[in-house]
């Protein structure tokens, strides 16, 4: 640990730290363009010059390229260093255009800051400026090459950090050009970070183009709720409209970056079609009256049919406060058990994952990057939780081999081993890996369940991939990533046991689950006593349940059996919906109550590793000024009330519906006292042993071998399937079109070629989709993205097995597009 002196202050930093980092630790921000904590140093921009007064290399040096030494003396404000920095700024500004007033970066521009703080106010260069033509880089990123200062941050991020290859730097010398080979949308689903990382206005946020300066935005720290990772973001709103979302640094979660789904998934909050008014039987009314009507009707149902005839459904996208209110209202009124899940499998999977995620095993996203061998079971990181794919890439860049065991055609921005095996074979595969990588002797000291499990290990029927076994044997920090979307409780349990076994062998093994929704973890904590809608449906169909309150949930639009849920909803006497989206359920509701988004009232979310993150709203909400005014002009009348501002947080509104008083405090989640909104802390389970879920671990093999059966899985993709972000107009071009993926061998048996229509007779009716034939996926499997335009709800379940003769080639009939039966939108 060398000790050095910077500007007369001493600091001790670890070996290998750069001078610029040591200064930062002291709170001295040395100017920088090319240096970035996530990207490291290249010494390209020459602006971080400092004077080394004492050390092996004296004189003006680049602080980002220089390792600290014992006894080094650094001066950051030495006249020589200051002059150097000033001149560098002047050189960088030679060709910089005179367009700050019309540049969207203005106001949060690093170059602007450095130019002003460096004292460069007048251009001395009177010659002509070099110019560049710009490229169209898609609907999300605006390109303006004239502003470039050649710091290379964009290409380093794009190619090295995130692993995509369609952005490059061509030319030489004064003429280098950062762009694509030809115009077109950037392929990188993390391309939005170019906006944050570019120190000037070369890449700017196109949807937010010309919306306003950063200083005018109502900005607030928030958490992304488009997947279970819960990345930290900063929200900027103005004129009652969310304008942009930026990445916010979170050490343990997303680091500096976020994915495009998180960055541009917010338009749902600004939609003109967002329901702002309460409705009773289709008639708009005030929230107060609608609450009273709902309360009276709920009371009436409870009185006539018994309190058990009322059910309340939350969802995994709602905040903890809302889920708490759902549980509270059910308990206070003696209603049926609270529902948080649509499907039983989802409930069981997440409950299993949550119960198995011990404090000793859990990994944060940052820790996942440090793994030296990663095994991914039944997960498509890019589709389910995009930032996890970026973390895997960082692990891979440090040399960790990555193995993905998944039936889907998984794509990742890194070279990895994909083992496309049928989802039913996954548990057996994990067992075989455990058997090959671990040994019973070391398992003796492990957790009793692990011990008994290893004792049961028989000869595996699915042979383990030899590379994976080899990598595991030498690995010191193996990480197990396991999905909960297409897998089952057996695989989830095995993944945990696998990690526990590795741990027992003295390695720093970790476990990383992906979960559905932003608050799947929270729903699972709440759901110890809960059922899923699937389990409750017979009671609705049987007429026992007569009223349903859906809170930020859309059973009609998301339950995998559309026909059945529609019939069930028709049988209800009363459907109350609280939501901020115009979902199918909201349209069908007898009483509808508007609620607020995370940007308006905030809330608490628990991400998939159990990290509690408390968010406050960034703005108050209401109908955006751009929508209330005539012709884009704000109104000239001034009123006390905010138009469309009646909505309150779902949890708050829900308690107003309750005939009985809902107790505020909840027993099932205890927030640690030091929880702060910045980084959050991991949730503490009330009693882990009480929640301990023991998945069934028998009768695993054989199921997948049946050649007469096919497995259909409905899956998440990066864009187009997640409920909130799929409403974003800027992401729609990158969505995977409604389709069904098949292995060529399976397609050949029908027979089908690429683009043909395939008709599937599943539990919920017949579904016609175009076929996409891909090699890198499992046989005996059909993969269908839950695209909002695909009628995937006819499948009847998100994972099901069908007879092989249930699929056949369909003839295109006119414009027989694979459309959903158009629901009221």
């Amino acid at each position: 640990m060398p000790t050095l002196t910077i500007d007369n202050r001493r600091i001790e930093v670890p070996e290998g730290t750069k001078v610029i980092e040591a200064a930062e630790a002291l709170g001295i921000m040395i100017p920088r363009f090319c240096y970035h904590r996530a990207l490291g140093s290249v010494g390209a921009c020459r602006v971080c010059a400092v004077k080394i007064v004492d050390g092996t290399r004296k004189g003006v040096q680049m602080s980002c390229m220089l390792d600290v030494e014992e006894g080094m003396v650094v001066s950051t404000d030495d006249p020589e260093a200051v002059a150097m920095r000033r001149h560098v700024i002047e050189w960088l500004m030679l060709h910089h255009p005179h367009d700050c007033p019309v540049c969207d970066e203005g106001g949060h521009c690093l170059l602007q800051d450095m130019t002003v703080s460096g004292g460069h106010g007048l251009r001395r260069y009177l010659g002509n400026k070099r110019t560049h033509l710009d490229q169209y880089l898609g609907p999300r990123i605006q390109h303006e090459m004239n502003r470039c200062i050649q710091c290379y941050r964009c290409v380093r991020y794009y190619r090295e950090f995130s692993g995509y290859r369609d952005l490059g730097v061509t030319g030489i010398g004064n003429r280098v050009y950062f762009g694509r080979e030809r115009e077109g949308t950037l392929e990188n689903p993390f391309s939005g970070n170019l906006i944050d990382i570019c120190p000037t206005g070369v890449f700017t946020d196109k949807p937010a183009r010309y919306f306003g300066r950063r200083w005018d935005l109502q900005r607030g720290p928030s958490v992304c709720i488009h997947c279970s990772l819960g990345c930290s973001v900063t929200v900027g709103a103005r004129y009652r409209e969310v304008a942009r979302v930026e990445a916010r640094y979170a050490k343990a979660v997303n680091g500096h970056f976020i994915c495009d789904r998180g960055r541009w998934g917010f338009p749902y909050t600004n939609e003109a079609s967002r329901p702002r008014a309460a409705r009773v039987d289709g008639e708009a009314t005030t929230v107060g009256e609608a609450c009273a009507a709902a309360r009276n009707r709920l009371l009436h149902v409870a009185e006539t049919a018994g309190s058990e005839a009322v059910a309340c459904l939350g969802s995994e996208r709602a905040g903890l406060e809302t889920l708490k209110a759902v549980a509270g209202i059910c308990r206070a009124n003696g209603w049926a058990d609270p529902l948080f899940w649509l499907e039983r499998r989802a409930r069981e999977n997440v409950a299993a994952a949550v119960s198995l995620l011990g404090d000793d095993l859990v990994l944060s996203l940052r820790e996942l990057e440090a793994a030296d061998c990663v095994l991914v079971f039944g997960a498509d990181p890019l589709g389910e939780a995009p930032m996890a794919a970026l973390a895997l890439r960082q692990a891979r860049r440090q040399g960790a081999p990555v193995f993905v065991f998944d039936p889907r055609p998984v794509e990742l921005p890194l070279d990895f081993h994909h083992v496309p095996l049928a989802i039913e074979d996954l548990p057996e595969c994990i067992r075989s890996l455990v058997g090959a990588a671990g040994d019973r002797e070391t398992a003796r000291g492990a957790d009793p369940t692990v011990r008994s499990f290893t004792d049961q290990l028989a000869e595996p029927s699915v042979p383990p991939p030899p590379e994976a076994v080899a990598a595991l044997r030498t690995s010191r920090r193996p990480a197990v990533v396991c999905g909960t979307d297409v897998t089952d409780a057996a695989a989830i349990g095995l993944a945990a046991d696998f990690a526990a076994l590795m741990k027992a062998q003295g390695r720093r093994a970790g476990l990383f689950y992906l979960m559905p929704g932003a608050n799947g973890f929270g729903a699972a904590l709440a759901g110890t006593e809960a059922a899923s809608l699937e389990e409750l449906l017979p009671r609705i169909e049987g007429g026992e349940i007569r009223a349903l309150v859906a809170v930020e949930a859309d059973p009609l639009g998301l339950y995998p059996d559309r026909g059945r849920i529609e019939a069930a909803m028709r049988k209800l006497d009363l459907l109350v919906v609280l939501d901020y989206l115009d979902t199918d359920s909201a349209a069908a509701a007898d009483v509808f109550l508007p609620s607020t988004t995370v940007f308006e009232t905030g809330g608490t979310w628990i991400n998939q590793e159990g990290r509690i993150q408390i968010v406050r709203g960034a703005h108050r909400g209401g109908i955006p000024v751009s929508q209330t005014g005539g012709g884009g002009h704000p109104p000239r009348v001034f009123m006390e009330e905010v138009p469309g501002g009646q909505a309150a947080a779902s949890g708050q509104t829900l308690t107003r519906l309750s005939p009985a008083e809902v107790k505020g405090a909840s027993e099932w989640v205890r927030l640690p006292p030091d929880t702060d909104k910045q980084s959050g802390t991991r949730a503490v389970l009330p009693d882990p042993s009480a929640l301990r879920f023991a998945p069934e671990r028998t009768a695993l093999s054989g199921a997948a071998g049946d050649e007469a059966m096919l497995t259909v899985i409905a899956v998440d993709r990066t864009f187009g399937t997640e409920v909130l972000s799929s409403r974003s107009p800027w992401l729609s071009a990158e969505e995977t079109a409604p389709t069904v993926w098949m292995h060529p061998e399976e397609a050949g048996r029908v027979p089908l070629s690429d683009g043909d229509l395939l008709e599937i007779d599943a539990g919920g009716g017949s579904l016609v989709l175009p076929v996409k034939i891909v090699e890198n996926m499992a046989r005996r499997t059909l993969v269908i993205p839950r695209h909002r335009d695909a009628a995937w709800q006819r499948l009847g379940a998100t994972r099901l097995r069908i007879e092989r003769d249930c699929i056949r080639k369909a003839q295109p009939v006119g414009e027989n597009a694979p459309v959903k039966e158009s629901p009221p939108r």
């Binding site: 255009p97 367009d99 009177l126 070099r130 710009d134 704000p634």
Partner: protein
């Protein structure tokens, strides 16, 4: 002795004089008397006041009163809605919304000044990078209805260039607009062709 020290020495208080001569007392009384005489003489001078409603003098061009939005020499709106005036405004009386027109020019979709709040400090004019917002000597605009003091862009736009007759921001900005492409602005080279064989 360094210059600073010299400065301090100069500021050291002069020691009070203990003994004053009669003449010094006389001088002091004389000075006092002169003061009274001067003010007394003023009594009989004609006041230099210009009485406002009866006499309206032409104010200098740079006087600070009613704000206008000027046009560039080509007759186009100068304002690019960069928000700098609203940021500089100490009383937050300026608001706007920027947008892009069909020619790629950034402009103010709406622009509003609440003159009921404006203190005519001129910081907006100082902050304006395009010489769009300018204060004029026209100070007589008081109204009884407070809402009528809120001026919209139509009310603010004038048909001349105001004090700055020549500047045209889009001739210099290097931004591609309807009439000029990259490399066609003032002091610009043609756009670089990176694939050229010339180094």
């Amino acid at each position: 002795m360094n210059p600073d020290e010299r400065h301090y020495r100069k500021l050291k208080p002069v020691p009070p004089q203990r003994f004053r001569t009669i003449s010094e007392i006389g001088e002091a009384l004389n000075a006092l008397g002169q003061g009274f005489v001067t003010t007394f003489r003023h009594l009989f001078r004609k006041p230099i006041t210009e009485e406002y409603p009866e006499y309206k003098r032409t104010l200098p061009e740079r006087s600070r009163a009613r704000i206008v939005l000027t046009r560039d020499p080509d007759g186009n709106e100068r304002c690019v809605a960069c928000y700098l005036c609203s940021a500089a405004c100490p009383v937050s009386c300026i608001s706007m919304q920027s947008a892009e027109d069909d020619n790629g020019r950034r402009y103010a979709r709406w622009f509003r000044i609440n003159f009921g709040r404006c203190i005519y400090c001129g910081l907006c004019e100082e902050a304006c990078p395009t010489s769009a917002i300018q204060l004029t000597p026209q100070f007589e605009h008081v109204k009884r209805e407070i809402l009528s003091m809120v001026y919209e862009k139509e009310d603010l736009l004038v048909d001349h260039s105001g004090k700055d007759k020549t500047y045209n921001f889009y001739r210099w900005a290097g931004i591609r607009t309807g009439d000029r492409d990259k490399g066609e602005h003032e002091r610009e080279d043609k756009p670089v062709n990176v694939r050229s064989n010339m180094p």
